[in-house]
């Protein structure tokens, strides 16, 4: 939540996943996933539709419980943590859901203010000021008093990002950030993600199958392979494209073009 000056982006592990198996009932979606997300990474979770990318994200933020395996935030085991510990860990985490998931009964300013009201001692005037700032950061200056239904889908998404950043989290999760955005807005969102990471030292985890965005911002990634139900590749996306021999990954990264 606090950004120390001069720490830069170290290589400390931020989230580690050990032997994670995801399942719906007896149907196993992905098994034995082990990977580490380092501090300051823009970590991409990629894979075809239905590969369990979003489910993995839900596991990472505690909305789904692993069938097997553990998730660690720094040294703390998130999977076995009690609800108090979980809440404390999640205070440090912001999530941008696919459709923005703004609370429709509240204005944009109230959407952001609710979190500040709940977890800080700021006065109402200060809360409003911080909410305006967060909206300005995502380019929505002046839209404080709009309801989510009164603005466009792309704006809702950006407002969702402003809400995810409300408490200055050190980790931000994005579920398909570019879905439903035009190419220019998607690119602007990518740049926003990068500048937030650079200036606040956030760790960013992105679920995506948008290749342009994957190559533009990803510093590390994993590929969820449907036929094998496992992670078949990991590393910086550009290196994966240059070095992989795996035909499925190759075809994913080149939009199915024949080599």
């Amino acid at each position: 939540m606090i950004h120390e000056l001069g720490t830069g982006t170290g290589a400390r592990p931020c989230i580690s996943v050990h032997d994670l198996t995801m399942a719906y009932g007896s149907y196993v979606l992905m098994r034995d996933m082990t990977f580490t997300i380092k501090q300051g990474d823009v970590f991409i979770i990629m894979g075809a539709s239905g590969s369990g990318k979003s489910t993995l994200l839900r596991h990472l933020i505690g909305l789904n419980q692993p069938a097997h395996g553990n998730i660690y935030y720094q040294a703390e085991n998130f999977t076995t943590a009690d609800s108090g510990q979980r809440d404390r860990i999640l205070r440090n985490v912001g999530v941008l859901f696919q459709g923005g998931a703004l609370w429709s009964a509240m204005t944009l300013s109230e959407n952001i203010g609710l979190l500040l009201q709940g977890y800080t001692d700021l006065t109402p005037a200060e809360i409003r000021q911080v909410a305006s700032l967060k909206l300005a950061l995502v380019g929505l200056k002046g839209f404080e008093d709009y309801y989510p239904s009164e603005i466009s889908g792309g704006m809702q998404k950006r407002a969702g990002l402003a809400r995810a950043m409300a408490l200055d989290p050190s980790i931000l999760f994005f579920d398909e950030p570019s879905a439903g955005l035009d190419p220019i807005s998607a690119r602007r969102l990518d740049q926003l993600i990068l500048s937030l990471r650079d200036s606040l030292g956030m760790t960013v985890v992105v679920v995506s199958h948008d290749l342009a965005s994957i190559f533009a911002i990803g510093t590390n990634s994993i590929y969820l392979d449907v036929p094998n139900r496992a992670i078949t590749a990991s590393g910086p996306p550009k290196e994966l494209l240059a070095g992989t021999q795996d035909p499925t990954l190759r075809s994913f990264l080149t939009r199915g073009e024949k080599p």
Binding site: G139, K141, D198
Partner: protein, 374 residues
Amino acid sequence: MNHVVIERNEDDVLLIRLAGRWVLGSGFPSAAALETELEREPRPSRITFDARQLDLWDSSILAFLARVSQAGREQGVALDTSTLPTGLQKLLGLAEAVPEPAGARKELRAPAFLERLGEGALSAVAALGEVLPFVGNMAGASVRLVRRNARYRASDLWLLIQQCGVQALPIVTLISFLVGVILAFVSAVQLQQFGAQIYVANLVGVAMTREMGALMTAILMAGRTGAAFAAELGTMKVTQELDALTTAGFPVFEFLVLPRVVALVLMMPLLCLYADFVGVLGGATIGVGMLDLSWTMYFQQTIDVVRLGDTVGGVFKSAVYGLLIALAGCWRGLQAGSSASAVGGAATSAVVTSLVAIIVACGLFAFLFYVLGL
């Protein structure tokens, strides 16, 4: 703790010293002192910063700087951010990258009493204007139903009939039995004083068949089924399912509204008959249990006093109530806004609209039956 010191040096440059820990949880200073300093003559030429003593920071310092920058802009004083940490400079740049679109900001003010009164009246008139096309559409759909060329799925209709028929039986049983018991109990206490216990059967029988059976079922179904119709259609509107139906060539009125209306109009009379019977049973329980009447006596008395006309009248009324409930539910659902809270609002107003319509209809029926001598 965070510290701000504002200094003015000899060439009228404002120097803002930022120090300490700036953490959201502990609040941040207001820019009031700065604003008075900016307005003091001679006007400062520019604002600079000294952040060497700055320890930790988060959005709170950014919120403060955004205010400083805005105040500077308003007073026409230039801001020199080059001595701020790079991260802060970037974020400040980001926050000011997209200017506020002209006219975007909403004017917020509480409307005056007369204004609210007027708006309320106008929206009531507008709602009336919406009812008429709704009723017209419904009439058109009904004509097509009779001519057998309405487009709807028969399986939907059967499912709806099940939902507003059989599945409503438990709650109808519970409530109408209790109504019968309460009617019998209240009247028993009075009638016992005159030794006229047997007339409990008259009271319960006539009340249930003429009014209470139909009315209680209607109120129940308004809360149970009318609200469900509104919520379902409202959600379908939010998720654009209605648009998808319209573009696919399935008129919403025939495909969604008609089956619901038909199902409820068909099922309400049956539920009402059932409620009449269970209510009489409730009355009989009190008659037998408390007043020492026999089952045979009670039912013989009921059969003697309840006329077929009463029962048919009650059943007819319940069909009309069913129509009103289904229409109110579908109407409110279709006019719902496009958010989660709008769906809740639609369900609420569906129940309120149904209840008002039921009570008005109930009064009209009482008058009509009196005039016709039924």
